[in-house]
């Protein structure tokens, strides 16, 4: 991944993280909340692989922990794992048309479960019924609705202005 590409992806994650903590977190519809940051991270990880997913997830999680004065490292750990898993999925089997939807669906559910477990372990327990039954279904629906448009947007951001050089020669490998 070239430097400008990484810069664009990092910039997009930074802007999304700021918008998530200051704007999107106050939007609640039917008890659910769209997690634009998680969906953006998933889209970028699918497009740019597991290393970018893990590193981007770590730093954006750290940013969220800092901005919200939450326990440092909690969101960093969750986003690292989410980014890495999605990146690996994109590098292996997740290349079809439905990959963004599938990745967003699976990661949203696993992220909620992992967040519940981690928060329980550090003594900030939440009601599992509320997390898994009341809030997860609408949040999952919102994230799935966001998956395709955000995936297209991320791909556009990463590819806009990039010059594609014509192939001059082809070397056959022996």
């Amino acid at each position: 991944m070239i430097a400008s590409d990484a810069g664009r992806a990092a910039g997009l994650l930074f802007v999304t993280a700021i918008l998530q903590v200051s704007v999107f977190n106050s939007i609640s519809i039917f008890g659910g909340r769209p997690d634009v940051l998680l969906v953006t991270l998933i889209a970028l990880s699918l497009l740019r692989g597991s290393i970018f997913g893990a590193v981007g997830g770590f730093f954006v999680g750290l940013l969220i922990d800092t901005a919200t004065l939450e326990t440092m490292g909690v969101n960093a750990l969750l986003f690292t794992l989410a980014g890495y898993w999605t990146g690996r999925y994109g590098e292996t089997t997740g290349r079809g048309r439905h990959a963004p939807l599938l990745a967003v669906g699976v990661v949203t559910v696993l992220y909620s479960l992992a967040a519940l477990l981690l928060r329980f372990m550090i003594g900030e327990s939440d009601s599992a019924r509320v997390v898994l039954l009341d809030a997860l279904p609408p949040s999952l629906l919102f994230n799935l609705l966001l998956a395709v448009p955000l995936f297209s947007f991320c791909r556009w951001v990463l590819e806009v202005g990039r010059e594609t050089e014509p192939v001059r020669e082809v070397r056959l490998l022996e």
Binding site: N25, M72, L77
Partner: protein, 280 residues
């Protein structure tokens, strides 16, 4: 790479968890939050027109019924103001005659520090917001936080120029409260569910709490101990009371006066130093 990041995250959690509020990692977090604040403020300002539009449209749904309810309430409150003004005069003269000693009084014994909310909770299960005022503004841990409508919560973490406020809707929040009509005391908590509904817990079934009663902070004192909330901060209105034969206490549901979903700014009540104990 993954292993390094995971280990580093776990290390951060461990160190952060074990160190005190004045620890190095907390200081770094405070400095980082200060650096991020202009970006958050800018994002909030850019999104404000859209958020206003969303609030306007969602407000239209119940606007007509709200108007009728508020008209009726306004009429009732006007009558109450007249009654309360005469009761206040009588109260003052009686307290003066008895040399009555009170604790901190709300709002006169507190300095209000108004602060904008710069970041909302990262997930709906964390009911904490970050405000743009901190230790430098005199804010301390456990300071009560209100709006013009009523009680919002309390300060749970303070750094240089920012503070974290845990809302009343957090599962760990609990406030001693009293029914103004019946004087029934209980503890206001958030129920195990989404939304803003609160419950007045520990109210014996013998107390006749009724729908429409107003609940305020009780501001108790016991020896040298006292509630962090002064008496009289409005919390909410009783919306339903039910009794179950298997339960010791009544189930009292409260609708808070504060709309926690659209908080933009709050007022932190910083106790005036001279108001530790006031004699009237």
């Amino acid at each position: 790479m993954l292993g390094v990041l995971v280990v580093f995250s776990l290390l951060l959690i461990t160190v952060y968890f074990r160190e005190s509020d004045g620890g190095a990692l907390h200081d770094v977090q405070g400095a980082g939050a200060t650096v991020l604040r202009p970006f958050e403020v800018a994002a909030t300002r850019v999104a404000a027109p859209f958020q206003d539009l969303y609030d306007y449209v969602s407000g239209l749904v119940g606007a007509k019924s709200d108007r009728d309810r508020l008209r009726a309430e306004n009429q009732r409150l006007r009558q109450q103001v007249i009654e309360l003004q005469s009761a206040d005069q009588l109260n003052k003269s009686l307290q003066a005659a008895l040399n009555y000693v009170t604790g901190r009084r709300f709002p006169q014994d507190y300095k209000p520090v108004t602060a904008a909310i710069v970041s909302k909770p990262p997930s709906q299960f964390e009911q904490q917001v970050v405000i743009a005022a901190g230790r430098a503004d005199g804010i301390r841990d456990d300071d009560p936080v209100v709006t013009a409508a009523g009680l919002v919560g309390k300060v749970t973490k303070v750094v240089g120029h920012e503070a974290q406020v845990t809302l009343l809707t957090d599962e760990d929040s609990a406030v001693s409260a009293i029914d103004l009509h019946t004087r029934a005391e209980g503890i206001v908590k958030h129920g195990h569910g989404p939304g803003q509904t609160l419950f007045l817990d520990q109210v014996p079934k013998s107390e006749h709490v009724a729908q429409g009663d107003r609940i305020v902070t009780s501001g108790w004192h016991s020896g040298s101990l006292s509630s962090i909330y002064p008496f009289g901060i409005a919390i909410g209105r009783v919306t339903s009371v039910s009794f179950q034969s298997t339960e010791l206490y009544a189930s009292v549901q409260i609708e808070p006066y504060v709309d926690f979903s659209s908080l933009d700014s709050v007022i932190v009540l910083v106790a005036k130093p001279s108001a530790e104990k006031t004699k009237r």
